[in-house]
Amino acid sequence: MSARTLSTGTLIRLFAVLMGLAVLAGCGSSSSSNTSTGTPAITLAPTTFTTFSSGVGVASAAQSMTVTDAGTASLTFSSITTSSGFSQTNTCGTGIAAGAACSISVTFTPTAPGTVNGTLTITDNVSGSPQTVTLSGTATGASVSPTSLTFSGVAVGTTSAPQAVTLTNAGTSAITSVSVSTSAPFAQTNNCPASLAASATCTINVTFTPTSTTGASGTLTITDSAGTQTVALTGATNTSNTVAVNVNFGPNGQSGQYYNGIYVTLNVCTPGTSTCVSVPNVLVDTGSVGVRILASALTGVTLPAINDGQGDDLNECTMYGDGSFNWGPVESATVQIGGETASQVPASAGGTASTGIPIQIISTDTVPVAVTDASQCVQSTNTPDEDTVATFGANGLIGIGVEAQDCVYGGVNQCTTASSGDFYWLVDSAGDAEQAGVPVNDQVWNPVAAFSSADINGEVLTLPPIPAAGQATATGTLTFGVNTETNNAIPGTASVYELDDYGYFASSTYNGVTSTSANSGGTFLDAGSDTLFISDETTLGTTDCISSGTDIGLYCPSSTLSISLEVAGTNGTSTTLDLSIANALNLFNANPSFAAYNDLAGPSCIPVTGSPCSAATDVWDLGLPVFFGKTIFFGIGGTTEGGATSGTTSTNGYYAF
């Protein structure tokens, strides 16, 4: 600002300075007038204070006393003090001239109920110094402490830990008609009686339950016969709709050979409580739906079984594309991940508050005979019943694919009758099992679809680019919601790819051969798979360079290959995915400690001489390598395409990138 544009505020400040100089001159503290040889004399007016009164912890109204030098020489002060419980301010400085005056202002702040006696002491150069003035204060009426509360970092849909406010009757008689209130998103409980006796206290517990990521402010109001006491309330949410994901060897370490595992930490809580267990090393899977946690990772929480009311608990045989499976009961839990919480099936879907969402507990129990007879959940010493950290390579799995429940596809419940899928079972106390049809609310839910926030329509997975040689580990971000917040908007450079009835791209074309569901092909994006499963034995050869025994592992071309796969959505959008296929054995030998690779591929076909694989008829499961260096959006079926506020509903879910 230039000197020519003095603001009004500047003028006021200049005026104040001039007034201050005038006051100093009037009070005569200057030594130039102190030339007589007389004596000072002090007078006080009034000479006493009335009894102070105030609530505990609250400063009383001030009382002032004027000090005049009635003598013929300057009055000088060496100190002006009060005893405990009282405080003073004054205008007297180090002294005043003969005939001049200054003032002392005293307040009382009780720290406990009852009466406090004290003294104001003026030490000066008058004969008989110090002069003392008796002070008396009484703590009285109702008061609250503290007078403000701040809640921070509370996840949307959850309730904070309570914070206590104490109401004190510091008076000598009861205060009556005590009433306490606040308003949402704050709530209170209290043990205050309608009539609070003299010297008694009561406690008010205040909680904050945010319903949106916007913070909130409010007031706790106590009305009673002594007046109104207020406590200012401020609440801040955990606004994070993101959580870190880590690509590493997982809980089994390097020796487990679980490369390209992508893990997250989440909390599993007893429904309706704040009793939670943190579960690290949970595999992030965009190719399945539902939270499935090893029983061994769930210590300290109590999860209600889901049953038929007749002693039969709901269990699930969860099958994966490689023939492995998880067996165990379906139970209710609150799931927290990042700043998001799934504490109930949405009310819009018929859920009720604080009952949790269905998750699967991966059990080490023996699979019932009826189940092994009828399904792929066949336990033996050989089959991969993945029910331990050693065999599962994780403490659990969070399936965040493009459906809201694990047996509802294209908006249709595929498990309304027991005849579908050998998927859900009721098991009685004797271990006998029978197949079960299961309504939507009791199926294992995609937790995203049950979040209490607005971020329920999908998620975004971002992984950093990594070198072709691989990297020891990699850290990315899982962001919940699509177009619900500023950090999950689909950029203009990306396109939406609607998926077909089977959760695949509408078509994928490689080397001029187009694969569609109609000819049993299909391509999908699957963070839970470690590899690009590609059928191209002509280019990549039939060499199985990794396997032990008969399990065909990974491609090992003599030099790294680049291939292009054109994928298209049912909505007509298309793009080309450029995939890189390195020699897996060379990669592993060069850097045995590396867990993250963007160029591992294996066959999605049976490469036998005389039976060339066909890109047209094989499923291409594009695993974690395709995710590096990309941000990929996953939209849940039944939500609006692209997270728009209105427009086309996505029947089968969509990808966007």
Binding site: G321, S375, S419, T550, I552
Partner: protein
């Protein structure tokens, strides 16, 4: 908290079903039809017969039968993993042996031995796979027909 729901349908298997069918006689196809509760259609193809079992939810299991009446291959396109024990019969042991030797957690699998070839892919909602016995594939055919 107790939630209740109806058991809408219950399947009781009166006895342990006869395992079919890969590598067995065509007569075992009927036990698959029974266990899978499907509609059965046979289509005569050049050099083999295709027995197609379509389940209530639209899932399909194909069984490929040689002129000698032996099931030499199977394939499936289904919402759920099919009952492989039922479909593979004695070759289930080959699958288990192959699965045991996996060195990494995958979500797809291919297994190949002299007398057993198997691949399985897909995700919840759509599983696809096939299996055949190389030595049983008729001489005038290639395993390519097992789709």
């Amino acid at each position: 908290m107790k939630r209740t729901f109806a058991v809408l349908l219950m399947l009781l298997l009166g006895s342990v079903p006869a395992w079919a069918v890969l590598g067995e006689n065509v007569s075992t196809v009927s036990s698959d039809v029974q266990v899978l509760r499907g509609q059965h259609v046979m289509v005569a193809k050049t050099g083999y017969n295709l027995h197609q079992i379509t389940m209530k939810d639209g899932s399909v299991v194909n069984e490929f039968v040689s002129p000698a009446g032996i099931v030499f291959g199977i394939s499936w396109q289904s919402h759920f993993m099919p009952n492989l024990q039922q479909l593979l019969g004695a070759h289930m042991a080959d699958l288990q042996q192959g699965q045991r030797t996996r060195v990494v957690p995958r979500r797809a699998v291919t297994i190949q031995t002299d007398n057993f070839v198997f691949s399985s892919f897909g995700h919840m909602r759509s599983f696809r796979g096939r299996s055949y016995v190389p030595g049983l594939v008729p001489a005038n055919l290639t395993p390519e027909v097992v789709q």
